[in-house]
């Protein structure tokens, strides 16, 4: 007990989750419904970032194309609604199926490459998806499509911001919980191992590609769920969700929070989207401030906010940074086949 509450890196995020749980009630009480929608969006992005964190943070697969899955998730709802399908279960099944399948195919191809090529090929797939939806004239093309039939799960209809909020919050909590378990579960260890040294994982008797592919598929599917929620929140699906900038934002969120950490995506989403909102109220030229802030985050390294909090943790070493030298590891010939991070 005491251990949890003496560690800021654990209790701060938990406290934030608790506060988020209170948002709908507070909003109800104060009549500020807007904040429900606002935080719902943050939570949905946090889910997407959790999803990316599986591939990127745990598996070291620098996907610059996760907007593809966010967009696919959204369009599943859009297309289903267009064709008069309102069942949330059908939406969910379609979403998982489509995102899983697309992730399987694109992942199988992308994972043939490593490093920069992996970044670029995932970007390419997302761009293809973007252009595909832009040219779907019947479904609104670049104007996007309004969603008349929100996902309906039995008695629960995701048509109000509050219902989306509740659903998203539950998904987020489950995701975080699962990610915490996954991190040190055998599967998590395998993909985290593959990030450091894929060759060694193979030599240990584990067919590393299968694990990476599955991680990529799971990541894509969870991201799709975020897309589904996003579509319900906005009652709208738009190709702009698939643009490369969204992929970039998701990466930024994951890294700001703390790459590969359990609570990182949540903290990252709050800080990133919150900051954007705050800066926008100061000046139209908010990007002049926002851009350099991102640069600073990159310079500070990947332990992100979680790493910052960990500094206040008692009896715990700061997250091991690639210290002064990783000399022997950088030794010649250790063809480091880490996806995305050669």
């Amino acid at each position: 007990m005491t251990s949890i509450f003496s560690r800021p890196s654990t209790w701060v995020p938990l406290l934030i989750l608790l506060l988020l749980a209170a948002v709908p009630f507070v909003a109800q009480a104060t009549g500020q419904q807007f904040y429900v929608a606002f935080f719902a969006r943050i939570i949905i992005y946090a889910i997407a970032a959790c999803a990316l964190n599986i591939a990127l943070g745990y598996g070291g697969m620098v996907s610059f194309g996760h907007s593809l899955f966010l967009g696919l998730g959204a369009y599943v709802v859009g297309l289903a609604s267009f064709h008069e399908v309102g069942s949330g279960w059908a939406h969910l099944a379609l979403c998982l199926g489509v995102c899983g399948f697309v992730a399987l195919v694109t992942g199988a191809i992308s994972l043939r490459t490593t490093g920069i090529a992996f970044i670029m090929i995932t970007l390419a797939f997302a761009q293809m998806g973007y252009f595909l939806f832009v040219s779907l004239k019947n479904y609104g093309g670049d104007d996007g499509m309004s969603i008349a039939k929100n996902s309906r799960f039995g008695p629960v209809d995701l048509s109000s911001a509050t219902s989306v909020y509740v659903a998203a919050f539950i998904v987020l909590v489950l995701s975080i919980w699962w990610l915490a378990k996954l991190r040190v579960a055998p599967f998590g260890m395998v993909i985290r191992g593959a990030k450091q040294n894929a060759r060694r994982v193979n030599a240990a008797g584990i067919p590393v590609l299968r694990y990476q592919l599955l991680a990529y598929v799971m990541s894509g599917m969870l991201c799709g769920v975020a897309g589904l929620l996003l579509a319900n929140l906005n009652a709208f699906a738009s190709p702009s969700t698939l643009s490369w900038a969204v992929s970039g934002e998701l990466i930024v969120i994951v890294v700001i929070g703390g790459l590969g950490s359990v609570f990182g995506p949540l903290l990252g989403a709050i800080v990133f989207l919150g900051l954007e909102e705050v800066l926008k109220t100061w000046t139209d030229h908010w990007m002049v401030i926002f851009g350099p802030l991102i640069v600073i985050v990159a310079l500070l390294g990947k332990s992100g906010i979680v790493g910052l909090l960990q500094r206040f943790d008692p009896r715990r070493k700061p997250a091991t940074q690639p210290a002064a030298t990783t000399a022997p590891a950088a030794a010649a010939g250790t063809a480091n086949t880490v996806k995305g991070a050669v």
């Binding site: 990127l56 620098v62 610059f64 191809i109 992308s110 043939r112 490459t113 490593t114 490093g115 920069i116 090529a117 970044i119 670029m120 090929i121 970007l123 390419a124 797939f125 761009q127 293809m128 252009f131 595909l132 832009v134 040219s135 004239k137 490369w244 970039g248 990466i251 930024v252 890294v255 790459l259 030229h285 908010w286 990007m287 002049v288 926002f290 851009g291 350099p292 802030l293 991102i294 640069v295 600073i296 985050v297 990159a298 310079l299 390294g301 990947k302 690639p322 030298t325 000399a327 950088a330 880490v338 995305g340 991070a341 050669v342």
Partner: protein, 305 residues
């Protein structure tokens, strides 16, 4: 569809390819050789175009404008290197993507503050203003100037990377800077110089593209992605690869744009062809990249090193 037009379009593809290479050249140095994923290359290119436009406005001389663009972006590159980039070489690509993504946002907005949101004006120099007639098609003379500059840059960077000790040291430094330093080489300085040269080439590309493209905030992104595609298809770290890949992408993109809708019309309904043709054409470059990488993950002409 006759032979002349196919030939004319081939020529268009080639010259688009050279334009792409011009954009890719600086990036190959930084991205390919130093292994630094520089999304801000597009921003440097944009800044080059703006520098050129401003200098042109003051002096009226295109030559001076190009010089100003190169000088300005060289200095800018040095400053960026000093402030941020130098600290990132030894980190992985993710940090590069992140930091330079931030820089892209910054520069796009900075440009709007300084030069406003409207596109600024940059003109083709008087002496290159004419058009040349080839096989019944007129070509702007300026395009030939771009080809010449592109080829010069290609040769120059190839020599720098493959034939000089500086090139070797930079390649070595990209992998193990501590060791290079321990052997008595000021790798930091060297990297800074190379980054600045890359920035200068970006600026040159911006100045050269300025007269034919809209000089405005965000002009870097659309070309940046195509440029990255070029480099990856060519094989990271290979100047020759980037050159061939630029030509291939230029031709595939051009031919696809022009002939794909046309061919689809022959085989399918017109309405479908009109919808699918351009969509397919815009995906073509990405499709090409996906196919190439799936087939040869290391790119078409990987640097043999």
């Amino acid at each position: 569809m006759n032979g002349t037009i196919v030939f004319a379009q081939l020529l268009n593809g080639l010259q688009y390819g050279v334009l792409l290479f011009l954009l890719a050249a600086g990036l190959t140095l930084v991205f390919g050789i130093m292994s630094f994923v520089n999304l801000a290359h597009g921003s440097l290119y944009m800044m080059g175009a703006y520098f050129a436009a401003s200098a042109f406005q003051f002096t009226g001389s295109f030559g001076l404008a190009v010089l100003a663009a190169m000088g300005g972006s060289l200095l800018l590159g040095l400053a960026l290197e000093f402030i941020a980039v130098a600290r990132l070489y030894r980190r992985d690509h993710l940090d590069h993507v992140l930091a330079t993504f931030g820089l892209v946002l910054f520069f796009n907005e900075l440009v709007r503050i300084v030069w406003g949101s409207q596109p600024v004006f940059l003109q083709v120099p008087e002496f290159l203003g004419g058009a040349i007639d080839i096989a019944g098609f007129t070509y702007p003379a300026y395009r030939f100037a771009i080809i010449v500059v592109g080829l010069l840059v290609a040769i120059g960077s190839w020599l720098l990377i493959n034939k000089t000790r500086v090139g070797m040291l930079i390649r070595a430094g990209a992998v193990n800077p501590a060791m290079v330093a321990a052997l008595g080489v000021n790798i930091r300085l060297l990297n800074a110089m190379l980054f600045a040269v890359g920035a200068m080439l970006a600026g040159l590309a911006g100045a050269m593209a300025g007269p034919i493209l809209s000089v405005q905030s965000g002009m870097g992104e659309s070309v940046l992605i195509t440029t990255l595609v070029v480099i990856v298809i060519g094989g990271i770290g290979s100047v020759t690869g980037a050159f061939y890949a630029a030509l291939i992408v230029g031709i595939v993109d051009t031919m696809g744009r022009v002939f794909l809708p046309f061919m689809l019309r022959q085989v399918t309904e017109r309405s479908f062809a009109d919808a699918a043709g351009p969509a397919l054409a815009s995906m073509l470059v990405y499709l090409l990249m996906a196919v190439v990488l799936a087939w040869r993950p290391q790119g078409l002409f990987p640097a043999n090193r």
